[in-house]
Amino acid sequence: MMQLRIYCLLCAIAALMLTSFSIQAVPWDQLPAEQLTKKLETKFSEGKYSKKGADTCLMCHKKNNTVMALFDGVHGQVTHPDSPMTGLQCEACHGPLGKHNKGGKEPMIAFGKDSKLDATSKNSTCLGCHNDPQQMAWYSSSHNLDEVACVDCHQIHTAKDPILDPQNINDTCIGCHPQKKADMNKRSSHPLKWDHMTCIDCHNPHGSMGESALNQITINDTCYSCHAEKRGPFLWEHAPVTENCASCHNPHGSVNESLLSSRAPQLCQQCHMDDGHAGRAAPLDGQDAFGGGKSCLNCHSQIHGSNHPAGSKLQR
């Protein structure tokens, strides 16, 4: 009987130990996000960094291919003066080691899809080093306000961050912007669906001081950067053209030709109804010069402006 009691007691102790170990093994898995963040903040402020830097981390993580892929990329370079590897090494991004490698297994700052940290906390790590003109407008950008994390688009533990390959940029953007995916597959669009152009040819995903995160300050300046022939100024200008190219065009794509928000003559008739000439009803296409060929542009082909002295009607 005594042996049985001792056996049961040993079993109970073993069960308790196993249970305790399983909880202690990854205790932060069960921590709510707020408590985990507080714990990491405390750990960060205590600053209990490892004695030997990366070598301490690699004692356990060397067999992990993803971890080791860091050294193939720029963040793992020991020759780069600004690389994390020439500073606090792994702990520059993942925070001080503390007791992470001891029995308690304290949490580290993590960035993967299972991380409970919010985007702002994750991003603070990146922005600590990336304080440069490319990120100047990040804080007021829509991506920051919508809590997009840097690691949602970028990968660090890799030889080559996939988003830096022009062939991958559009796929990444349309993952969150499916309407743009629709637009780029319409009858007319910039050649985005074939990756001949990329979203960042016009936009800066890190925000910009211009509107709509455009690379240039204004919409028109952005268009002129590839369409300099429309910049002018022209002797005879077309008012909505000088004001905003997007008055008539949808740069992401349209069911109409030439990225137009509507077809001619209807588009032109949304502004010109002046003398019975522009105001004519055009019930059927292809019946007369008003509804056939290039419609209004059969005569007024210099719709973006004319430099002909007799071109006030944008005809020549």
């Binding site: 707020e34 003066p81 606090l88 080093c129 007021s140 002046d274």
Partner: protein, 667 residues
């Protein structure tokens, strides 16, 4: 067409955010106990030397319409292809990179880079962009040396544009004390050639293939200085457009058409950012000038040789974002933009009288001035709910317009809900109202403009918009997202012109990772845009109306399997269908039947990657493109009295491409 498993949406649904944000930036780290001298990396692998891959292949395309080269990235026939990504990393910090993407095809790029990390870098890049419209355009006008000569017979032309860009970039950085200095300069040149559709009045309208032969040179340079919590940047950019075609003449009619004139533009900007505690202030001031003083075509009644066209631009912005506590964030910005046309005004003889100035007319200088304010607030209710709201206002002044000021105010709100561990809902609503100064016909055109007309970009407008985004991961292997949008524009004070518009759509997307080897995706989406406008055939009330219904649908699916032949073979498939249509119905006396205006495409791609060895790989791909478009406005060359067209410019083709390539992994 490669719509892969979307890691971003997965990430968005897989985390439950914290109600508090921490600052883990390395410059805030407590390093008092760190002895960096003892930090080691003996276990870090040596990654110096060359690595990367080179891929060499050939593509064979079969198509009877050059328009297919847009999708297949090559014209009919066989073409060699080079892809490469080779990197060199030296032991002392020197590095170099050589990249090539689709070299040999019609859209391609190449990039060379060399330098020492953190010190200096030189880059050289090349890019070619091609756009194909039609290879069966019918015209009897041919361009040579500024003159469009007429041939007896209608002949076939190709409308396509090619851009070839080269660029070089030098940059250097230096750490001086606590400050980081960066300087860069970039020069690029683009040559654009080809033909595009245009039209001229002779006095009857004739469509023709307009030659394009232009060069654009760009120079950008900048200096930035940054400290721990601040940075400032001074940038300069210059662009010069040089059109090799100065004017177009017909043998019997000189200088009838003025192509785009040579022009140049520069902009100088000063930007800065300052961070204190959890507040970020960013600002930018920019001044620029656009100049156009190309020779003006000499005609009777033209008083000038060269016009001194000059537009000065001034832009500025101040933006502040402040995290007041772990739940509340406030933001705001003010921006200003001015376009000041300082060109000279002259009186020019016109070939058409306008009823006011007779046969003479002065050029009009258009100015705009735009002031924009934005404020926003974000409040995190708890880890599952976050509410945002904002107010935007835009005040735009313009000269010589029927309405010289428009003001638009917008209120918006967003609610983010992460109520379940595996799903997320985002709701957004906005309402904006545009009004402004009294709408009146401007002095220049008052006698001929219908007083009931309200130009759509100037008219009073109420805009309401709603959007709902739903992400859900019902199981580990699947992620589903659904986005619905609805927007309505009501031009409340418009009797003639665009009176209303509705735009509504949905997009459904599913990403699947069935197991380690098999992944797939499927998506569907539709959009409808319905607009209504009224017109008048005389200066009176509306006597006709038009309803335009645009519709778009896209469907797609794909899969990738990586587990065949001892994991050496990878197979993939992508398919996409897209259909765009626009139906218009004009009601005038009687309702006419609608004209065809639609296009559709089926795009499919099959590929197989086989790993011959650790270094050598083979890829075999097949791409199919079925494209059709139609437009009733496109008619035969002389089908309409008084109008000469370029013929029916519709497309209807099946195109195929097979590509075989071999890749070699350097390490």
């Amino acid at each position: 067409m490669r719509y892969k498993l979307n890691l971003i949406t997965l990430a968005l649904v897989s985390v439950s955010g914290s109600a508090m944000a921490a600052d883990f930036s390395v410059n805030k780290a407590n390093t008092s106990g760190v002895n960096a001298d003892k930090f080691q990396c003996k276990r870090c692998p040596d990654t110096t030397g060359y690595r990367g891959s080179v891929e060499l292949g050939a593509a064979y395309s079969d198509s009877d319409d050059i328009h297919s080269a847009n999708a297949l990235n090559s014209e009919d026939g066989t073409h060699g292809v080079l892809n490469a990504d080779v990197r060199y990393r030296g032991k002392t910090g020197y590095r170099a990179k050589a990249q090539a993407t689709n070299l040999g095809l019609t859209n391609s790029r190449a990039y060379l880079e060399a330098g020492k990390v953190g010190s200096y870098q030189a880059e050289l890049d090349y890019r070619q962009l091609s756009q194909y419209q039609h290879d069966n355009v019918k015209s009897n006008l041919w361009y040579a040396d500024g003159t469009l000569t007429r041939s007896a017979q209608v002949q076939t032309q190709e409308l396509s544009l090619k851009r070839k860009q080269i660029g070089m970039d030098l940059s250097a950085g230096y750490q001086w004390g606590e400050q980081d200095y960066q300087v860069f300069a970039r020069y690029s040149q683009e040559e654009k050639t080809g033909y595009q559709s245009a039209s001229m009045v002779t006095p009857r309208p004739i469509n023709f293939g307009k030659p394009v032969d232009a060069t654009t040179d760009k120079l950008t340079s900048g200096l930035s200085i940054s400290g721990q919590n601040w940075l400032t940047s001074l940038n300069y950019q210059y662009s010069e457009y040089d059109n090799q075609i100065d004017s177009l003449s017909l043998p019997y009619l000189a200088d009838i058409y003025a192509p785009a004139p040579d022009n140049s533009a520069y902009q100088l900007s000063l930007s800065g950012q300052y961070l204190f505690n959890r507040t970020a202030i960013s600002t930018q001031l920019a001044t620029g000038r656009m100049i156009q003083d190309a020779a003006v075509i000499q005609t009777t009644g033209n008083p000038i040789q060269n016009w001194d066209g000059q537009v000065d631009t001034t832009d500025g912005k101040l933006a502040i974002t402040s995290v007041l506590d772990n739940r509340l964030r406030l933001g705001g910005s003010v921006s200003y933009s001015k376009r000041d046309n300082k060109s000279s005004v002259w009186e020019f003889a016109q070939l058409e009288s306008d009823g006011i100035s007779g046969a003479f007319k002065q050029n009009v200088l258009l100015d705009t001035e735009n002031l924009n304010y934005k404020v926003n607030v974000s409040y995190r209710i708890n880890s599952d709910y976050r509410l945002q709201a904002g107010f935007d206002r835009e005040e735009l002044e313009r000269s010589h317009s029927a309405r010289e000021q428009t003001d638009e105010s917008t209120v918006w709100t967003k609610l983010d809900i992460r109520s379940f561990a595996s799903s997320k809902l985002k709701l957004k609503a906005s309402f904006s109202q545009r009004d402004g100064s009294q709408y009146q016909a401007s002095g220049l055109t008052s006698s001929i403009e219908n007083p009931l007309l309200r130009k759509f970009y100037l008219a009073d407008r109420d805009r309401s918009a709603f959007e709902a985004k739903f992400n859900h991961a019902p199981a580990d292997w699947i992620n589903v997202s659904l986005i619905g949008r609805y927007a309505e524009d009501d031009y409340s004070d418009t009797a003639l012109d665009l009176t209303s518009s509705k735009d509504y759509s949905y997009n459904l997307n599913a990403d699947m990772q069935f197991d380690k080897r098999l992944s797939g995706y499927a998506f569907a989406g539709q959009q409808w845009i319905e607009s209504q406008q009224n017109g008048s055939q005389s200066i009176s009330a509306s006597d006709w109306s038009a309803q335009v219904d645009d519709e778009f649908i896209k469907l797609g699916a794909g899969m990738n399997y990586t587990g065949l032949m001892q994991d050496k073979l990878n197979l993939g498939l992508d398919y996409l269908f897209a259909n765009s249509s626009s139906d218009k119905q004009v009601v005038y006396v009687s309702t006419e039947p609608q004209s065809d205006y639609y296009s559709y495409s089926h795009s499919a791609e099959l590929y197989a990657n086989y790993k011959v060895s650790e270094q050598l790989g083979v890829r075999l791909g097949y791409q199919f493109e079925r494209y059709y478009d139609t437009d009733n406005a496109q008619v035969d060359v002389n089908a309409i009295d008084g109008l000469t067209t370029l013929g029916k410019l519709n497309h209807n083709y099946n195109a195929h491409q097979v590509m075989l390539s071999f890749s070699y992994q350097l390490r």
